[in-house]
Chain length 180, copies 2
DNA sequence: GTCTATATAGGGATAGAC
DNA sequence: GTCTATCCCTATATAGAC
């Protein structure tokens, strides 16, 4: 099995159990590899596995969500595309945000800088699109942050109340809130 | 040491390490009690401790935040009071939300129903105040949900980017967003 | 009510055969 | 590259003295 194939199978484990709750036994079961085989692919153990998953999810996120903000289309269309991809990326609200998961507990110590950087790139990229759309830079930054807040908060609320409606609504209203 | 005193000392442990990341050793150190003493107070072990902390934090939250919505004042003033208490309760954005923490991983299995109920009570109570303030019931519910989203999302963003500004801004704008 | 000591299980991690 | 077997450590939990 390739490293990439293994990583793909390991994503749901971290998403469901968090960093601390994820054990090598769970990872072993999910991947179909023995613990020793996991250490063959990831000599650094659990931490390296989490880092690999973090990178993998980041590439996936960039290919879909971030990429939709870097096309040659009009700002309105870029943001609409982003929203559509966000909805898909988060399984209509059912899937947790990997960055948010990695911002709790021990994982926060290990991955804080990487998570922070990833979120800030996203905020900055979105802000650029808003500026391109005629929003003042200061306001653009605030609105981009607000978009992050909406997404993260909606994902939490959805998980708590077992209802994806708030997430769908948040995504639906995002273009209007961002561009007036 | 009384049960209550012990619980108060244990809150920060769960807030910092999450449910999975919290160990009896950490709880022992934080409380100054030996592990066996913890089992004397909480025969159910870690799960019972978490449940006790959950209840304790809930009572604290009700006394401050929820209570401010149940005064005899005008809706505007109730909401302003709530916002002030929210800011205090979450340490200006530096403190995590206990309910959100308990919505991840194994804790989500154990406490899902209790967390859901607590959040729904809060949403319903806030919605009632909005209705009292002249908002249509359907819209009131949506806006109350949006308030939860803002708070939860802001707490996450704050932790990720090490900057409490988004939380302060969210709280500041909350009364206007809720009541138009 | 608190302690020391200990039981039992599972976690992360490694050695070495194949 | 994958496995079985094993090591060490820490986790939860309990027994029993004080």
């Amino acid at each position: 099995m390739s490293r990439e194939q293994a990583i793909a199978k390991l994503i749901p484990v971290f998403r469901k159990y968090g960093y601390e709750g994820t054990t090598l036994s769970l990872l072993s079961k999910a991947s179909g590899l023995g613990k020793a085989s996991l250490y063959h692919h990831f000599p650094g153990g659990k931490e390296e596995i989490a880092a690999a998953v973090f990178e993998y999810v980041g590439i996936w996120f960039n290919k879909t969500v971030l990429n939709s903000l870097q096309s040659e289309q009009k700002p309105e269309l870029k943001i609409q595309a982003m929203c559509k991809n966000l909805q898909e990326f988060y399984g209509n609200g059912k899937e947790s945000c990997f960055s948010a998961i990695m911002s709790f507990g021990e994982a926060n110590n290990l991955f804080h800088d990487r998570v922070k950087h990833r979120i800030q790139v996203l905020i900055d990229t979105l802000a650029q699109v808003l500026i391109e759309g005629g929003i003042e830079p200061e306001l653009a930054k605030v609105r981009s942050q607000d978009a992050m807040i909406e997404i993260q908060g909606a994902l939490i609320l959805v998980r708590i109340i077992d209802d994806t409606e708030p997430f769908e609504r948040a995504i639906e209203n995002l273009p209007r809130k961002l561009l007036n």
